[in-house]
């Protein structure tokens, strides 16, 4: 089993996300995370899917997704040649005495405090997955009230593998 990040460029039609998610569920493929958002051209949506499987499964995933009529392009985001980012929001219970300690950890990770309430803080952190995981580990000892992760989104580096939209 290996993990792969696929980047899809799809027509921004109604139901496109359910078509893709449905393909994964009915063929028994894993989805570790899926993110979707419109591109600079509103006709298209970019979807990033983190999935796992053996070589045969991963090849089938790529081919079956490519076959969907709405899918314009699918490619692997090779970790050595791409950047991945994930955003996480963490609500931590903090007494006034603990607050500074949590803020200090957040500062080390260049995380932002985006909400302060009498008994809690919300921290926003963006980074690759290992950074996010490390940050969550460091908060051990503090009570995490709620946590929301977006899942990975990413882009390949440079101009070599860009799929142009204008035809």
């Amino acid at each position: 089993m290996q993990k792969k990040v696929f980047q899809l460029l799809v027509d921004n039609t109604s139901g496109v996300l359910s078509r893709i998610a449905g393909l994964f569920s009915r063929r028994g493929y894993n989805i570790e995370s899926i993110t979707a958002g419109v591109t600079a051209d509103p006709r298209f949506t970019r979807i990033t899917i983190v999935t796992s499987g053996d070589d045969v499964i991963l090849e089938q995933i790529e081919k079956q997704v490519a076959k969907l009529i709405d899918v314009r392009d699918i490619k692997e985001l090779d970790p050595s040649d791409s950047v991945y980012r994930e955003l996480v929001l963490i609500k931590v219970r903090t007494s006034p005495e603990q607050r500074q300690a949590v803020i200090a950890i957040a500062d080390v990770f260049r995380a932002n405090i985006i909400d302060v309430a009498p008994e809690s803080l919300i921290i926003e952190l963006t980074g690759n997955q290992s950074k996010v995981d490390a940050f969550i580990t460091l908060l051990d000892g503090h009570e995490i009230l709620e946590l929301a992760r977006t899942g990975i989104t990413g882009l390949g580096r440079g101009v070599d593998h860009v799929t142009y939209l204008d035809d």
């Binding site: 799809v10 027509d11 109604s14 139901g15 359910s18 078509r19 449905g22 009915r26 045969v56 090849e59 089938q60 081919k63 079956q64 490519a66 076959k67 009529i69 709405d70 899918v71 314009r72 035809d167």
Partner: protein, 538 residues
């Protein structure tokens, strides 16, 4: 003009001659507008069969078959037919009426989320939200259904869209699908590689699937194999690519196929699979077809290549195009020794049956029927033991053999034969089914009578769901469960009720006269052949 008129204009522009369907309120504007057209409507007796009939038609015309049904239960009933076409890669355009747009999602009367429900069985589906989209959507639907790997497309049209005014109708000349461009032409480098392997090979063989028929590449394939004397086997869906008696044809492969066909495939050193999925019933052990041999896999659907067996040479493209390219190459090869071996296998490994003389022997009957059928006749096999016997004993001359090999939907043969007959009224069309599958589509005898569709029907009657009984015989040591068809109707009375001629054949003595009478006129006949309930296909 309203949306429904535009839908009809689209069908006319696509050259559609027949629409199979069943009306309900939500599709009534469409069925009202169609009265102003020359398109023929056929009222099928249950919606599933509308899709099967459209499938039979599509397989003969090479154009998408069309069916139109109402919302809710009409739409959900058609799903099995759509799924059957999807599994067999048959091009269909299925039109469903839908409730008023603004009520969608509120669970009103006869509402079903049909685009959601068929998602895994269609190549694509549309829910039309604006009347102006009708021409573009229909153009795209017919294009998607009949290009690349063919398959069904569903168009869901809310009743208010069908009734909405549309001022300017213009059917698009071309489709503009940014994301859909199937590869048709084979890659030149890969083609060269295949030719090189053919030159090297001592024991080459081609396994032809349904894709060869779908791309209408039979002639190119035959010319090629005759020129280089390459033996051919086929999958169930590929039956008919080669005439059964062709010296280079070595039968159907698979767990229900010819032992010599499987042996030939396994012993080859170069196997060219074309338009075949390497599916479980055709190739039960994919490991065997990659061992000690070069595997070339030709398919228009790249996702099929490598799905079940890793090929040495993948070749994506349309079979017709690829064989045309193969024919442009000149090379030499010599396989006489291999062909001699295969002829020996064909002689020594033929299946020998011991038929019960008190009944009609389905094998001998089907062979005799085939011999007397017109050369270009269309034989439609249902699902069950009848299908396996049909595959094994029907002799294709210049005609077609239709069946559902992918989904295996019982009841397919009668509606599909109706579609085939309407597509080719001058040809003999014969549906062969069992007493189980016959009763799944028996209601269509009314459609045949009403619309004057003279399909001939053979029922191999054994009072059992024979294929399942056979499975229970082997797997559960004759511990039969829910396979007894007692209570089935007297077929002579059924035939009489529908005004059809009826024949019963109980033994082989009078088989020739019976078949002559059965084939005599271009009219519907129901012929019951009483076969041994304990007969086995294996």
């Amino acid at each position: 003009m309203i949306g429904a008129d535009a839908m009809i204009k689209c069908l006319e522009a696509e050259g559609v001659k027949v629409v199979f369907g069943y009306p309900g309120v939500a599709i009534c504007p469409f069925y009202n507008s169609i009265l102003n057209s020359n398109i023929r409507t056929v009222l099928i007796r249950t919606e599933q069969n509308a899709a099967h009939a459209a499938s039979g038609m599509a397989r003969i015309t090479g154009r998408p078959g069309v069916c139109a049904v109402t919302s809710g239960p009409g739409a959900t009933n058609v799903i099995t037919g759509i799924a059957t076409a999807f599994a067999d890669s048959i091009p269909l355009v299925c039109i469903t009426g839908q409730v008023v747009s603004e009520l969608i999602g509120s669970d009103v009367f006869q509402e079903a989320d049909i685009t959601g429900a068929v998602e895994s069985f269609v190549k694509y589906s549309y829910l039309i939200k604006d009347v102006k989209d009708i021409p573009r959507v229909f153009k795209e639907a017919f294009h998607i259904a009949n290009t690349g790997r063919k398959g069904p497309v569903l168009i869901d049209v809310p009743i208010d869209i069908q009734n909405a005014p549309l001022n300017n109708f213009a059917y698009p000349e071309e489709v503009n699908l940014r994301t859909y461009k199937p590869t048709v032409k084979g890659h030149a480098v890969q083609i060269k590689k295949v030719i090189q392997e053919l030159q090297k090979a001592k024991r080459p063989i081609i396994c032809a699937g349904g894709g060869v028929l779908l791309s209408e590449a039979e002639e190119e394939l035959r010319t090629f194999v005759e020129k280089y004397r390459i033996p051919v086997v086929s999958t169930m869906m590929g039956i008919g690519v080669m005439p059964t008696k062709h010296p280079l044809y070595y039968g159907m492969v698979g767990n229900n196929g010819r032992p010599y066909a499987n042996k030939a495939m396994n012993e080859s050193d170069l196997l060219i699979m074309v338009g075949a999925r390497v599916a479980d019933r055709a190739v039960s052990q994919p490991g065997l077809i990659t061992r000690n041999k070069v595997l070339v896999h030709i398919d228009v659907d790249p996702a099929e290549i490598g799905k079940n067996a890793g090929p040495t040479i993948p070749l994506v493209g349309d079979a017709k195009n690829i064989f045309q390219d193969f024919l442009k190459e000149e090379f030499s090869c010599d396989h006489d020794e291999w062909l001699d071996t295969l002829d020996e296998y064909r002689r020594d490994l033929e299946i020998h049956r011991n038929p019960n003389p008190d009944y009609v022997d389905p094998a001998a009957f089907i062979t005799a029927l085939s011999e007397k059928m017109q050369d270009d006749a269309i034989y439609v096999a249902d699902v069950g033991q009848n299908q396996i016997w049909s595959c094994a004993y029907h002799v294709v001359k210049k005609g077609r053999f239709l069946t559902t090999g992918g989904m295996g939907t019982m009841g397919y043969s009668i509606p599909a034969a109706m579609g085939a007959k309407l597509a080719a009224p001058e040809r003999q069309v014969i549906a062969v089914c069992g007493d189980g599958s016959f009763q799944m589509s028996m209601m269509e005898l009314a459609t045949m009578r009403q619309h004057n569709i003279p399909v001939k029907i053979i029922v191999l009657k054994n009072n059992y769901l024979g294929m399942v009984r056979e499975y229970q015989h082997y797997t559960y040591q004759d511990h039969y469960s829910v396979v007894d068809l007692s209570g089935s109707p007297d077929l002579s009375m059924i035939a009489a009720a529908y005004g059809m001629r009826f024949q019963r054949l109980e033994r082989m003595e009078h088989v020739d006269e019976a078949i002559d009478a059965f084939l005599e006129k271009d009219a519907s006949v129901l012929m019951e052949c009483v076969i041994d309930p304990m007969d086995l296909v294996k």
